[in-house]
Amino acid sequence: MTAALVPKPRTAKQAGLFNCHACNLLVGPAPSTSQGVVRCPRCGERLHLRKPNCIQRTWALVIAALIFYVPANVLPVTLTTYVGSTQTDTIMSGVMYFMQTGSWGIALIIFVASIVVPLAKLIILCGLLVSIRRRSHWRPSERTRLYRITELIGRWSMLDVFVVTVLVALVRLGYLTTIEAGPGVVYFAAVVIITMFAAMTFDPRLIWDAMENEDERIDE
């Protein structure tokens, strides 16, 4: 069911109310303290009308993640040594291995979690940032839903890091075969962490702000 709407002013920002990020309490225009910091009277979180410097921070994190995405996919994630000879595997060659051995389901899971999800997340965030910049009026609820999806799926990209961890634990030195983690894992973990931070820094309310106040600056 939908909640009852409130007549004008329509948004918390228009009414001059802070919506606490942590506990969702609406706080009226409070006198700022000496350091210019306004805190939520219920949970103590810092209050902002919008997440601070959201556009710049999100761009910075998206670009950083895109840079790390390349070594994450090119460098090997595992080094398998079997009787003296070493085989290196990237994420894509891991997917190929499962395809060749007939485990199509697992190949698909790894392909989606490690390759599709991070890239899709970065493309969606770029698209959202550009749409805000252009003050787009195109399907705001669908764009907000896209944002919610990127927030939810990001964590699943950690899959490959965990797979390498368990492989390394089970196939250790001293036996005929050993598996070691390759440098790709470091970059890959960095991509996951940075894209998660990028999704958290982004403020979906800007999608709606851009449609409402034509002459106001968007970033608060």
């Binding site: 709407l5 918390a12 919506n19 949970c43 899971i109 944002y147 490959d160 890091v161 973990a189």
Partner: protein, 201 residues
């Protein structure tokens, strides 16, 4: 102030709504973007607390018992849940090792302890010092607890190794699976709005 308490703003699009009482197990969604504003979860404190306490016990069991053992060419290699992170640290991948330990073990542990600290006294209407900060921490940590992803990772690697060796599951594997399910249950049962309102300022 009385006016503001009955209002809620959508966290995704900032639209203001009046708070209305909901029927049991119903959700209030934003009229404009469809985000869930608040829910009416039956017995949210009791249920989340039960799951959090059980989860903590399972986390301890999972760390004390054998996890997976690998049987190959007549020798058996035993591992625990943290063996992987330890091996990564040995291979000069300390950063990744810390990340794995955090997301699969420490963050879920801290999250559950923070919830117990807040919810256990709250059952009797008591609000311990720093409760608000602890609850804020628990909510902040939620996306960083990745036990379910870790479990999927275990399954994938077991399938990968099943061709070259026999892998025997240990007690830790089953307790970890239960922990994954309980953390999902905590997410379903926990309605932050109700908890915030029951905590005294």
């Amino acid at each position: 102030m009385a006016d503001e308490i009955t209002l809620i703003a959508c966290h995704d699009c900032d639209l203001l709504h009046r708070v209305r009482p909901l029927p049991k197990n119903a959700k209030a969604r934003c009229n404009r973007c469809g985000a869930v504003l608040y829910r009416n979860v039956n017995e949210t404190v009791d249920r989340s607390l039960a799951c959090a306490l059980t989860g903590l016990i399972l986390l301890v069991i999972a760390n004390l018992s054998p996890f997976l053992s690998l049987e190959s060419q007549g020798s058996v290699l035993e591992t625990t849940l943290i063996t992987g992170a330890m091996e990564l640290a040995k291979q000069s991948m300390a950063g990744v090792a810390v990340l794995v330990l955090l997301t699969s073990m420490l963050v879920p542990g801290i999250l559950l302890m923070a919830l117990v600290y807040v919810l256990l006294p709250l059952k009797r209407g008591i609000c311990l010092p720093k409760s608000h900060r602890m609850f804020r921490l628990a909510l902040l940590l939620r996306p960083w607890s990745m036990t379910e992803v870790f479990f999927l990772g275990i399954l994938v690697s077991v399938v990968k190794l099943s061709k070259m060796a026999t892998i025997l599951p240990g007690t830790a594997l089953f307790s970890f699976l239960c922990l994954v399910l309980l953390l999902a249950a905590v997410n379903t049962f926990l309605e932050p709005k109700t908890v915030w309102e029951r905590m005294r300022p």
